[in-house]
Amino acid sequence: MERPAGRVCRLKVNGDVRECALEPHTTLLEALRYGLGLTGSKQGCDKGDCGACTVVVDGQPVLACISLALAFEGRAVTTVEGLARGATPHPLQDAFDVCGGAQCGFCTPGVLMSAWALLERNPRPTRAEIAQALSGNLCRCTGYTKIFEAVELAARRMAAVGESS
């Protein structure tokens, strides 16, 4: 027996408006992963401790695992799947790949979203500012060094593109 579906509501994710059946207790992470098939956002703790579920809503990083999906109706949600432009990875994604910023890769989607929100508001952050912005994203593989280097490389590259255009 399937549970009775809740209300059908519209979520605006990565620029697409998607319909999804939600119950009052459905979290944004459940809606993304299991309702919309956007499995890039990860569940590491399901209680807001690890940051693997981080998505960006209206420019702010949000912990999707402790956010109720219904509260996000009509708001612009960006997930890791929404960073790339078509088949071209976002400079942050490319920098993480080049620098070895992702080892197991499980924290990476959340880290990328926090880093993206940072660069959107602060295009040339210091290392201390990067560390501060990523302090809600636990990484167990890298020791953070290569994550910091990747964010710095992306910022440099994005600034160079900005200057040349």
Binding site: T39, C45, K47, D97, C104, C139, C141, K146
Partner: protein
């Protein structure tokens, strides 16, 4: 051979007298011998390396950063049910009755199973099989699994768990080493031969008492190594899918697909050939996914009962109960040194808190002594290690399995002795260097050894000479060294088959597919396979597909544990790739009328060294030429270790075809008023033989150093004593908030210094890098705290209450000043 290196004649005593000899004597049967090539394993195939040693991307890197990589919980199968486990609320309790009728009556609940449904005992070590997928008679820790349900959704499965009634008879529990030994009648694990002793090992090499008596200085101290857990960010997840033909597929976030394959067949009573294990992308493991867990058996059994796929995803809380993390150890050391800094004798007594089951504990108990005998030579060595069962989640292999704890104690001992004899701690470590091509006191063969270069590198990079014992009060430097295995010399279950196999298929399109059972858990072994194929066959990395860790599709590799993957998988892959390279070279040599050894394959081009402009074609055309001459292109490669180890019982445990070496210097800042210690920087020098992928090697060094730093200052896998409202053995905080792992703000700067000793038997000379660089973090930080504050942190973690307590215990400042004066004395003596 170092003049002080000698082989050890050991005498082994064994309290529990296992029937089957573990760590058996050298096997009589001949072993397979891997092929040898002109120029050896370490030489590049075509003059110079094209991709090896370059800062390359990982093969799966872009999939991970774009969110496309598929992890176990990302997989949804049609008609899939969700499973949940009911867990014991008591640390020690007899299970009298389980009534699941109310759960089964709930619409949407499809099956409930208990211990009776899966009675077969299993365990990663064949002679200590003491676990059941669900406890049948008794629960042994808070969180031990006792029933499982399958339902339409996770919510419904949770609701079903609440409706299962369990009648327990609560038993007295033991939650510490002392309690376990004082109360043998409160037996935790009935498979123990006596009381609560899980394993006892006593080994002695040389005359320890005589050598200690011959020392000028002896230091005796007791150390406590706190337990910690892996906490991979991905929780364990498994999907069982039993089909109508009687074939079981299990998709699991495991790091040992092959061992899981065997265990599933055994526990579910299925023919091994009707079971398939698939490892999808795994989100971190660190040893925490290196054996079979309740969820894999239960997902499979529930699927067999319902005829539908069943997924079980552990909650974060359950990951803490699955555990298998760092064993808490009490370590008592006596270490002797002569005035010139030469180590004489080492005597260790070690007690190990194992938790409720054996896991890898037999090996842990050996490793607590066997892996200490390099990089330093010692005249005589004895260790006596006892692992006990307690009513807590089971400990097992966490990164640096079994040897991180004794290494901490031992490197602190060396620091104390160096001060006693008035020598610089780096100089003392150099003095006792065992050398390359040496044999340790316990009979281990050491080949390549870059430890001196590691010491040089950290001494130089940290500006040690200007800073050690010279910084103002509150700031200091410490050093430590270590060694680690590049894989174990023997498979966990006795057999003489290869430890790693690779199949390689070349397509006439110019594409290669490499099949291997290897387990990539983020460390990059899939990329190692691709790098080696690219190097040998001249391919672009993007033109190679890696198919890994699928027991139906890939030849056996034993998995990702004991730092074996690069060394063993790499060697197997080298074997497969060189076989095909020879076929291609022969075809082109015939076509061009040159010798086969004049054919090179690099960067997409095949040519002869004789006339590279005329005798030249694309690698794709070369594949086609070879296929036309020799038929369809495919090969197999494999690796098996040589027979190694000491000729005594247990003498093969710790034997490895190659050892990595590491040195760290830590710089710390300690606040004498708050007891807060901050690590300013860790310099990490690691001899990995050759860095096949420097980005990946640095990542392993930094990640290891981070994990050691975290254990030193933060992490405590601890349990509450009994209190009003609850019994003993409740986890102190099974969440990523309460269990304190360092964030980006807590973590120090790391500087990775790669040392390449080029191992004669490693693939292109490579050795391990994934675990060795964790070891020295902890003692280097402890020794740096002494330099900064004048206190010896012999107990982990070095958090503010402990540091403050030590500062109040004695006159730390006076000890600190005396250490400074002594250093000045040493400098004066050296100047004369």
């Amino acid at each position: 051979m170092s003049p002080r290196a000698r082989s050890g004649a050991g005498k082994a005593g064994d309290a529990d007298g296992m029937k089957v000899p573990e760590g058996r004597h050298m096997p009589e049967a001949e072993r397979l011998t891997p092929p040898a090539w002109p120029g050896g394993r370490s030489a590049p195939p075509s003059g110079e390396f094209a991709v090896i040693g370059q800062r390359t991307r990982k093969v799966e890197g872009l999939a991970k950063v774009t969110g496309r990589a598929v992890y176990a919980d990302d997989i949804q199968l049609p008609r899939m049910l969700h499973g949940k486990l009911l867990r014991s609320v008591h640390a020690h309790a007899r299970i009298l009755e389980i009534d699941a009728s109310a759960a089964l009556a709930l619409p949407g609940v499809h099956a409930v199973i208990t211990g009776r449904d899966l009675p077969t005992y299993y365990g990663i070590i064949p002679w200590t099989e003491d676990e059941q997928a669900l406890c049948e008679e008794k629960a042994r820790y808070v969180g031990d699994a006792i029933a499982a349900v399958a339902a339409d959704s996770e919510y419904l499965a949770e609701e079903a768990l609440r409706r299962i009634r369990v009648h327990y008879e609560v038993l007295p529990a033991v939650t510490s080493i002392e309690e376990a030994l004082e109360h043998p009648e409160r037996q935790v694990n009935e498979k123990a031969r006596e009381g609560n002793v899980s394993k006892h090992v006593h080994l002695e090499f040389g005359d320890v008492e005589a050598r200690l008596a011959a020392a000028d200085e002896t230091v005796e101290a007791e150390y406590w190594y706190e337990g910690s857990t892996h906490a991979p960010i991905e929780p364990h997840c498994a999907i069982g899918d039993f089909d109508a033909t009687g074939f079981l597929t299990v998709i699991s976030s495991t790091q040992v697909a092959h061992y899981l394959h065997r265990d599933l067949a055994k526990v579910l009573d299925l023919p091994t050939q009707r079971v398939r294990v698939i490892q999808p992308v795994v989100g971190g493991a660190f040893g925490g996914k290196s054996e079979s867990f309740s969820l894999e058996f239960c997902a499979a059994k529930l699927s067999m009962l319902t005829g539908r796929p069943v997924k079980i995803l552990y909650t974060r809380e359950e990951v803490f109960y699955a555990h298998r993390g760092r064993h808490p150890m009490r370590l008592h050391y006596r270490t002797g040194m002569r005035k010139d800094g030469t180590l004489t004798g080492v005597d260790a007594r070690i007690q190990i808190d194992g938790g409720a089951y054996s896991s890898f504990g037999l090996v842990t108990t050996y490793y607590s002594g066997q892996l200490l005998t390099a990089p330093y030579a010692m005249d005589a060595y004895r260790f006596d290690s006892t692992r006990v069962f307690t009513n807590k989640p089971c400990c097992g292999p966490k990164r640096g399995h079994g040897s991180v704890q004794p290494r901490f104690a031992f490197e602190c001992q060396i620091d104390k002795l160096a001060e006693r004899v008035g020598l610089d701690p780096i100089a003392v470590r150099r003095k006792n260097f065992i050398g390359a091509n040496a044999r340790t006191v316990n009979g281990m063969r050491v080949t390549s050894n870059g430890f001196l270069e590691c010491l040089d590198a950290v001494e130089r990079a940290s500006d040690w000479r200007a800073k050690f014992r010279r910084l103002p009060y509150g700031r200091g430097l410490g050093v430590a060294g270590s060694m680690y295995i590049s894989g174990t010399n023997y498979c966990i279950y006795p057999n003489e088959m290869p430890q790693s196999g690779v199949q390689l298929k070349l397509d006439r399109s110019g594409r290669a597919t490499v099949f291997c059972g290897a387990s990539d858990i983020g460390q990059g072994v899939d990329s190692v396979l691709a790098l080696i194929v690219a190097e040998e066959l001249g391919l672009d990395l993007r033109d190679i597909r890696v198919v890994a860790a699928d027991t139906d599709l890939t030849p056996v590799d034993l998995g990702s544990y004991s730092s074996r993957e690069t060394f063993m998988v790499g060697n197997a892959c080298l074997d497969a790739a060189r076989k095909l390279r020879d076929v291609i070279a022969a075809a082109l040599a015939e076509r061009w009328g040159c010798r086969a050894d004049q054919v090179t394959l690099a960067k997409g081009v095949a040519c002869s060294t004789r006339d590279p402009h005329k005798e030249c074609m694309s690698v794709k055309d070369a594949f086609q030429a070879a296929e036309a001459k020799s038929g369809t292109l495919g090969s197999v490669g494999w690796y098996q270790t040589p027979k190694l180890g000491g000729d005594y019982r247990g003498g093969t445990i710790g034997a490895s075809p190659a050892y990595s070496f590491t040195a760290h210097v830590a710089e710390v800042e300690g606040d004498p008023e708050t007891g807060f210690v901050r690590v300013v920087k860790l310099w990490v020098a690691h001899d990995c033989g050759r860095a096949l992928s420097p980005v990946a090697v640095e990542g392993q060094m930094e990640g290891s150093a981070y994990m050691g730093f975290a254990e030193a200052l933060f992490e405590q896998h601890d349990f509450k004593p009994a209190a009003v409202g609850h019994g003993p053995g409740i986890h102190d905080g099974p969440s990523l908030l309460d269990y304190r792992i360092p964030t980006s703000l807590d973590t120090p700067e790391f500087e990775s210094l790669i040392v390449e000793s080029v191992d004669p038997e490693g693939p292109y000379g490579a050795k391990e890098a994934g675990e060795g660089p964790l070891h020295p973090s902890v003692p280097a930080i402890a020794n740096a705290i002494y330099d900064a504050l004048g206190i010896r942190c012999d107990r982990l973690p070095f958090h503010p209450p402990r540091v403050l307590g030590l500062l109040k215990e004695g006159d730390a400042r006076a000890r600190w000043e005396q250490a400074r004066r002594q250093r000045d004395g040493v400098a004066v003596a050296a100047a004369r």
